[in-house]
Symmetry: C2
Subunit: 189 residues, 2 copies
């Protein structure tokens, strides 16, 4: 049901077509929160429309249909938002690789971490640029909007991943220089 609420949430912010929503998933949601392809999005929109949670508010060129959330949809979304499950369930192939890092030898683990750190640095830069543009356009006298708070969460997440990867690589290098075959390593204290 999460896909449904992801779509409902995006439509609560502004009306959009299936195409728009697909792009938003690709650009934003996919990387942090939820992944879905258009082949899943279009049928779900039709079902949500049947269920009265959203409605077509405009039809444009190329068969474009713009949907907006209905009152029933808003109520349903709110209910979902304020009732989070108490067991959180995650699927993240990236973190899974980290968990299985110890199945690699230290040299390979190190190489994987460097790959990770590089990919992460690139994403951090992108996000930083987006946030900077957002801040420049924002009214400085107003408080930070909720969206900006979440962006901050993304920023901090990337930052600690970068820091951690660097730290982990350092540790691996230190361990490599201090092999257990070194008799000194066996000295107590």
């Amino acid at each position: 049901m999460s896909l449904r609420y992801a779509l409902l949430g995006l439509l609560a912010e502004e009306p959009a077509s299936g195409y728009d929503l697909t792009k938003k998933f690709e650009r934003v949601l996919q990387r942090y929160a939820w992944h879905a392809q258009h082949s899943q999005i279009y049928p779900e929109l039709n079902r949500m429309s049947d269920d009265g949670l959203i409605a077509v508010v405009a039809e444009g060129a190329r068969g474009r249909r713009t949907y907006a959330i209905t009152d029933a949809g808003r109520a349903d979304l709110r209910h979902w938002m304020v009732n989070p499950p108490d067991v959180i369930v995650v699927r993240n192939e990236f973190v899974l690789r980290l968990f299985l890092l110890s199945t690699l030898d230290p040299t390979e683990a190190r190489r994987l971490l460097e790959l990770v750190a590089a990919a992460n640095a690139k994403q951090l830069d992108e996000l930083r640029a987006n946030v900077a543009a957002f801040d420049a356009a924002a009214d400085p006298s107003a408080g930070l909007p909720l969206q900006r708070l979440v962006a901050e969460f993304g920023l901090r997440s990337f930052q600690i991943l970068a820091e951690w990867a660097g730290w982990a690589i350092e540790r691996i290098d230190q361990t490599e220089k201090m092999p257990t075959t070194d008799p000194d390593a066996l000295k107590p204290k």
Copy 2:
């Protein structure tokens, strides 16, 4: 295919039965990296066995079958580990709620964040206790094992979530005290 590699990775560390693996998923993997239930795990183990990636190495009471990874399995796992996809794809209902925070009014958003912060604090305490026990049992003269590095990542992740949630709640409170109807808020600079 991620489930297959999650199982392969756990079996690369030590032989285990379907039951053992299910418990490991529940206790560890589920919260951070990958979720799977026993109804998915048992059939997958049978398929992996058919494919020669794992093999039954012991049979115990109550029909227990202990599996171990084969050389073919190890090769397959290694290949998967060192070839991460370049687009990372995530599914995390919790983060999805954060993204849709702006569909709530500030009061409700604040309440949700407090719920989140409390749940997170509990998880952080649990992990901290586990890590402390691990460190106490570890050989201090050896370098940090890779598993410990990953635990550190978990620790830091929880910590920044806690910090962020606190910060976000503060921001919301400040904004609430400074409504846009306040004429001062409209003054330039």
